[in-house]
C-alpha cells in the first residue's frame, strides 16, 4: 500500500510539472504584449519599455521559465497583469465561493442521487424507474447554463421566490456585519451565529447549487441503480433474504453498502467536472468565484492569472484522481 501511495504521489507531481510547463510555453507563444497590458490600454512606448524590464520580459524565455518555477516553489504565482495584485492572493479571495458551491452541489447530488438510485433499482422497470431514467438522462445531458437560465426565469422572474444571483442580497450586505474568518460564507456566518446572513447566503445558493448538482446527481443515481441491481442478484443477498431479514434492511444496509465503492469513485471523478462546470455557471449567477476571475483573465490574456487557475485546477484533478485510486485500492479484491 505504501509503495502504491508513493508511486501515485510521484506521478501526480510529474503531471503537475507537465501541465505547468506546457501552459507556461503556450501562454508565452500566444501573440500578445504583457508589458503593454501591465501599463494599461493606451501606454506610451516609454511606459511599455519600462514595464518590460520590470516584468523580466527582456530575459530569454528559459530564464523566465526558471524564474517562474522557482517562484512557484515559494508559493508565488506572479502578479496579475490587469490588477497588478499577486495572483495567489486573488485566488485566495475567489476560491472559497467556488469551493462552497462545489461542496454544496456534491452534497445535494449524493443526498438526492443515492435514494433515487435505490428506489429505481427496487422498482426496476416500473413507472418510477422510467421517470427516474428520463430525469437522469436529462440531468446529465442538458446544457448546464440553459438549466441555470431556466431556473432563474422560473424562480426569480415568474415566481419571485428566489434571488437571481450573487451570494447575499443587497440589504443584508449593507445592514449586517459580514463575518470573515475562513472566507467560506456559510461556515463563517454559522460559527459566528450570524443567522440572518447564514439564511440569506443559503437562499442564494439554492439555484446555482442545484444547477451544478444536476450532472453528478444523474450520474450517482444511475451508478447506484446499476450497481445495486447487480448486487441484488448476488448469492449473499438471496441468503439474507432467505433468512427472513426484512427487505428494507437487506436493501438499505447489506446491498447499498457494497455499492458505495463504485459510487464514491464516480463522485470523486465527477467533482473535477463539477469544478469546471462551476466556472461556467458562475457568470450566470454573478457568483464571485474563480469562474468569473478566469473568464476575465482569458479575455484579456492575463497569463499569470490564467496559469494560476490552471495550476489550481490541475492540482485539484490530480488529488481527486488519487483519492479515486485509493478508494478503488481499498477494495481488497483490487489490492490482491
Amino acid at each position: 500500500m505504501r509503495s502504491f501511495i508513493l508511486k501515485r504521489l510521484g506521478l501526480g507531481v510529474l503531471v503537475l510539472l507537465g501541465v505547468i510547463t506546457v501552459t507556461f510555453f503556450i501562454t508565452r507563444v500566444i501573440p500578445s504584449d504583457p508589458a503593454a497590458q501591465w501599463v494599461g490600454p493606451r501606454a506610451t512606448p516609454q511606459q511599455i519599455a519600462a514595464a518590460r524590464v520590470e516584468l523580466g520580459l527582456d530575459q530569454p524565455l528559459y530564464v523566465q521559465y526558471g524564474k517562474y518555477i522557482s517562484q512557484l516553489v515559494h508559493g508565488d504565482l506572479g502578479k496579475s497583469l490587469r490588477s497588478h495584485q499577486p495572483v495567489a492572493d486573488e485566488l485566495k479571495s475567489y476560491l472559497p465561493a467556488t469551493i462552497e458551491l462545489v461542496v454544496l452541489s456534491t452534497i445535494i447530488a449524493l443526498f438526492l442521487g443515492i435514494p433515487l438510485g435505490v428506489i429505481s433499482a427496487k422498482r426496476k422497470d416500473q413507472l418510477v424507474d422510467h421517470f427516474s431514467r428520463i430525469f437522469c438522462v436529462g440531468a446529465v445531458s442538458l446544457p448546464t447554463f440553459w438549466v441555470g437560465l431556466f431556473l432563474q426565469l422560473l424562480f426569480y422572474r415568474i415566481l419571485g421566490v428566489l434571488p437571481l444571483g450573487d451570494q447575499l442580497s443587497t440589504d443584508v450586505k449593507l445592514l449586517y456585519e459580514i463575518p470573515h474568518i475562513t472566507g467560506f460564507l456559510l461556515f463563517d456566518s454559522l460559527v459566528t451565529g450570524n443567522l440572518v446572513v447564514f439564511k440569506d447566503a443559503l437562499v442564494h445558493m439554492i439555484l446555482p447549487g442545484i444547477t451544478i448538482a444536476l450532472y453528478p446527481l444523474g450520474l450517482v443515481a444511475r451508478m447506484t441503480r446499476s450497481a445495486l441491481l447487480e448486487i441484488l442478484n448476488e448469492d449473499y443477498i438471496s441468503a439474507a433474504r432467505s433468512y427472513g431479514l426484512p427487505e428494507r434492511l437487506v436493501l438499505w444496509k447489506y446491498a447499498l453498502k457494497n455499492t458505495l465503492g463504485p459510487t464514491a469513485t464516480v463522485v470523486t471523478l465527477s467533482i473535477g467536472y463539477t469544478l469546471v462546470n462551476t466556472f461556467l455557471i458562475e457568470a450566470i449567477f454573478s457568483w464571485p468565484g474563480i469562474g468569473s476571475y478566469i473568464s476575465a483573465a482569458v479575455i484579456s490574456l492575463d497569463y499569470p492569472a490564467i496559469m494560476g487557475v490552471t495550476i489550481f485546477s490541475a492540482i485539484a484533478y490530480v488529488i481527486l484522481n488519487m483519492i479515486a485510486d485509493f478508494i478503488i485500492a481499498l477494495d481488497p479484491r483490487v489490492r490482491a
Binding site: 500566444i30 501573440p31 500578445s32 504584449d33 503593454a36 497590458q37 501591465w38 501599463v39 494599461g40 490600454p41 493606451r42 501606454a43 506610451t44 512606448p45 511606459q47 519600462a50 490587469r82 490588477s83 497588478h84 495584485q85 486573488e90 479571495s93 475567489y94 430525469f135 432563474q152 424562480f155 426569480y156 422572474r157 415566481l159 419571485g160 421566490v161 428566489l162 434571488p163 437571481l164 444571483g165 450573487d166 442580497s169 443587497t170 440589504d171 450586505k173 449593507l174 459580514i178 439564511k199 443559503l202 437562499v203 439554492i206 439555484l207 442545484i210 444536476l214 457568470a283 450566470i284 449567477f285 454573478s286 464571485p288 468569473s292 476571475y293 476575465a296 479575455i299 484579456s300 490574456l301
Partner: protein, 515 residues
C-alpha cells in the same frame, strides 16, 4: 426537481421579498455594471473600468461638461493662464477635507500629480506637458508647462487627475490594493470584493454637504450576464445598468417602470487600413473601400440605431468634430470607378480584416462589409481575435505580416481631439496605435500646432483640427465607421442621472436620488 426547490425554499424560509425591497432600500443606489468595477485601486494608475468608482471617491481640480462645452470648478474654484499658455495658476477651494481628515491644500495637489507622473502608469502621459509644479501658498498652485497644452482639460480628466491625501506618501506600496483610499469625494469606500463589487458610503464631512436628497450608500456590482442585468432592472432591484443588447433595450422601452437614456459616447469605431501594403497603399483603393462600406446598414443592423455614422475621426458632440466634413456614403458604383482608376477594374484581390473577438457589433459590421466587398469581387476574410493578439499582429515590422484592415475603438481620455488625431494618425517610429501606418508631415505639423494652440486659443485650435481631418478624409487611411451612443437603462424612480461623455459609463452618484 421543481418540488425539491420549493421544499428548500420553504425550509430556508425565504418569503419572496428579494426584489423591490422598497422603503428600506430607499437610500441605496445599485448600479449593475457589465464588468469589474475596479481593476487597480491606485488612483494614479487605474485606467480602465475604475473610472466609474473613482470619480465618486476622488475629485479632480475641474470637471468638463461637453454638453455645455464648459469647465466646472471642483477642487479648484478658478484658474488663470499666462498669455503664452505656459503658466497656469489654480486657486483651490478652502475647507475641503480628505477622507482621512487632512485638509486639501496646494501641497496635496503637487504631491498627487507628481506621484502620478512618477509612477508613469495608466494615463499618466496626460501630464507630459507639465514641467514643474509650484506651491505658491496653501491655496494656490502653479503649473509650468513645456508647451501650451490645454491644462484645464487635462486637469479634468477622468483618469490620472485625481487629487489624493499627501499622507499616502507614508503608506506601503500595497496600501491601495488592500482596499484603502484617500479622496475628497462625496463617497468613501465601505467595502469591496475584489473584481466583483464596491460598496460606497457617504462621507459626512463632504464639502458640498448632505442637505439634499442624496443616496447614503452606493453599490456598484459586476453582473456579467446581460439577461441578469435586464431582469434586475426590470424587477427594480438594480437602479441602473448599461450595455444591454439592443433588442433588449427596445423591449424595455415598453416597460413603464424602466427609462432609457441615449447620449453621445465619446467612442468610435475605425477600420484601420494597412497603408504600407498593396493594394491599400493606393489612395484610390482606400477611397473605394470607404465608398463600399455599408454605413447605414451597419448603424441599423449591427448597432440597432444606437450609433451614428462617423464624420471624420472626432466623435459627434466632442469639440473638434467637423459638422461639415465630407462624409463617404455607401456607393458601389463610385467604388467601382475608383478601383478601375487604380487599376483594379474587376477587383480580384483578397483582404484580411481582424476584429476584437467577442464584440458582436464589430463582428456583424465585418460580415456586412464582407458582403458588400464581394459585390466588387474583393474577397474579405473576417477573423475575430483577442485584442492583444490582433494588436500584436498589427505591430509587426513587416507590412506583409499584418492584417489589411483592423477594427479598433478609440475613446476619450481627456477631452481633446489631439488624443484621436495624434494617437491614431500621427507618424510613429515605433508602431503603437497608428495602425494605419499613416505618415503625413503636413498633417503632423498641423495637429501638433493645434495642440499647442489649444491651451491659448481653443476656437483657433478647433479650426486646425478640422482642417487636419479634411486631409484624413481625403487620404482615407481609415474607414470612419460609427460614433457609439451610450445607452443607460434605469428605474423610473432613479433621478438625476446625467450622461457625461467625457467620463464614460460614470454616474456621479451625489447628483442622483430616488423619487
Amino acid at each position: 426537481m421543481v418540488l425539491t426547490i420549493f421544499a428548500l425554499t420553504i425550509v430556508t424560509g425565504c418569503g419572496g421579498n428579494q426584489a423591490g425591497q422598497g422603503g428600506q432600500k430607499a437610500k441605496i443606489a445599485y448600479y449593475a455594471y457589465n464588468s469589474e468595477p475596479v481593476l487597480d485601486w491606485d488612483p494614479s494608475v487605474e485606467f480602465s473600468n475604475g473610472i466609474v468608482v473613482m470619480n465618486n471617491i476622488y475629485e479632480t481640480l475641474l470637471r468638463y461638461d461637453p454638453a455645455e462645452n464648459k469647465v466646472i470648478p471642483v477642487l479648484a474654484t478658478d484658474y488663470t493662464k499666462s498669455p503664452d499658455g505656459l503658466t497656469w495658476t489654480f486657486h483651490l477651494r478652502k475647507g475641503v477635507k480628505f477622507h482621512d481628515g487632512t485638509e486639501m491644500k496646494a501641497d496635496a495637489v503637487k504631491f498627487s500629480i507628481e506621484r502620478t507622473k512618477k509612477l508613469n502608469k495608466g494615463a499618466a502621459y496626460i501630464w507630459e506637458p507639465v514641467q514643474q509644479i509650484n506651491v505658491k501658498d496653501d491655496y494656490t498652485v502653479e503649473f509650468k508647462l513645456s508647451y501650451a497644452a490645454p491644462l484645464d482639460l487635462i486637469a479634468s480628466c477622468g483618469y490620472a487627475a485625481f487629487i489624493m491625501s499627501p499622507k499616502v506618501a507614508n503608506q506601503p506600496e500595497d496600501w491601495f490594493a488592500k482596499g484603502n483610499e484617500a479622496g475628497t469625494g462625496p463617497y468613501k469606500l465601505q467595502s469591496t470584493k475584489k473584481g466583483e463589487e464596491v460598496v460606497l458610503t457617504r462621507f459626512d464631512e463632504y464639502w458640498r454637504g448632505w442637505e439634499g436628497n442624496h443616496f447614503d450608500k452606493v453599490i456598484i456590482k459586476k453582473v456579467p450576464e446581460t439577461a441578469s442585468r435586464r431582469q434586475l432592472v426590470e424587477k427594480g432591484e438594480a437602479d441602473v445598468t448599461i450595455e444591454l443588447p439592443y433588442e433588449d433595450v427596445e423591449a424595455l422601452k415598453k416597460n413603464s417602470n424602466v427609462e432609457v437614456l441615449t447620449a453621445p459616447a465619446f467612442q468610435n469605431l475605425f477600420f484601420c487600413l494597412n497603408t504600407e501594403k498593396a493594394p491599400l497603399n493606393n489612395k484610390l483603393v482606400r477611397q473605394a473601400l470607404s465608398y463600399a462600406f455599408p454605413y447605414d446598414d451597419v448603424v441599423k443592423y449591427a448597432m440597432g440605431n444606437y450609433a451614428t455614422q462617423a464624420r471624420g475621426a472626432i466623435p459627434y458632440g466632442h469639440w473638434g468634430h467637423g459638422d461639415n466634413l465630407f462624409q463617404y456614403k455607401h456607393d458601389l458604383n463610385k467604388a467601382k470607378e475608383l478601383l478601375a482608376q487604380a487599376g483594379y477594374p474587376n477587383g480580384g484581390f483578397k483582404l484580411l480584416l481582424t476584429y476584437m473577438s467577442g464584440d458582436e457589433a464589430e463582428k456583424k459590421t465585418a460580415e456586412l462589409y464582407k458582403a458588400e466587398l464581394a459585390k466588387l469581387n474583393i474577397n474579405l476574410e473576417v477573423r475575430g481575435m483577442p485584442w492583444e493578439s490582433q494588436w500584436e499582429m498589427a505591430k509587426s515590422k513587416d507590412p506583409n505580416q499584418r492584417q489589411d484592415i483592423l477594427g479598433m475603438y478609440w475613446w476619450v481620455d481627456y477631452a481633446s481631439p489631439y488624443s484621436w488625431l495624434r494617437s491614431i494618425f500621427h507618424s510613429e517610429n515605433d508602431i503603437l496605435f497608428n495602425l494605419n501606418y499613416y505618415k503625413n508631415p503636413t498633417f503632423d505639423k498641423l495637429i501638433d500646432e493645434a495642440n499647442a494652440k489649444s491651451g491659448i486659443d481653443r476656437a483657433g485650435a478647433e479650426k486646425m483640427y478640422i482642417d487636419a481631418q479634411k486631409i484624413l478624409v481625403e487620404d482615407a487611411p481609415s474607414i470612419f465607421a460609427y460614433d457609439k451612443k451610450c445607452v443607460w437603462i434605469y428605474n423610473k424612480h432613479f433621478k438625476g442621472l446625467k450622461s457625461n461623455a467625457a467620463y464614460p459609463n460614470t454616474i456621479f452618484f451625489y447628483d442622483t436620488y430616488r423619487e
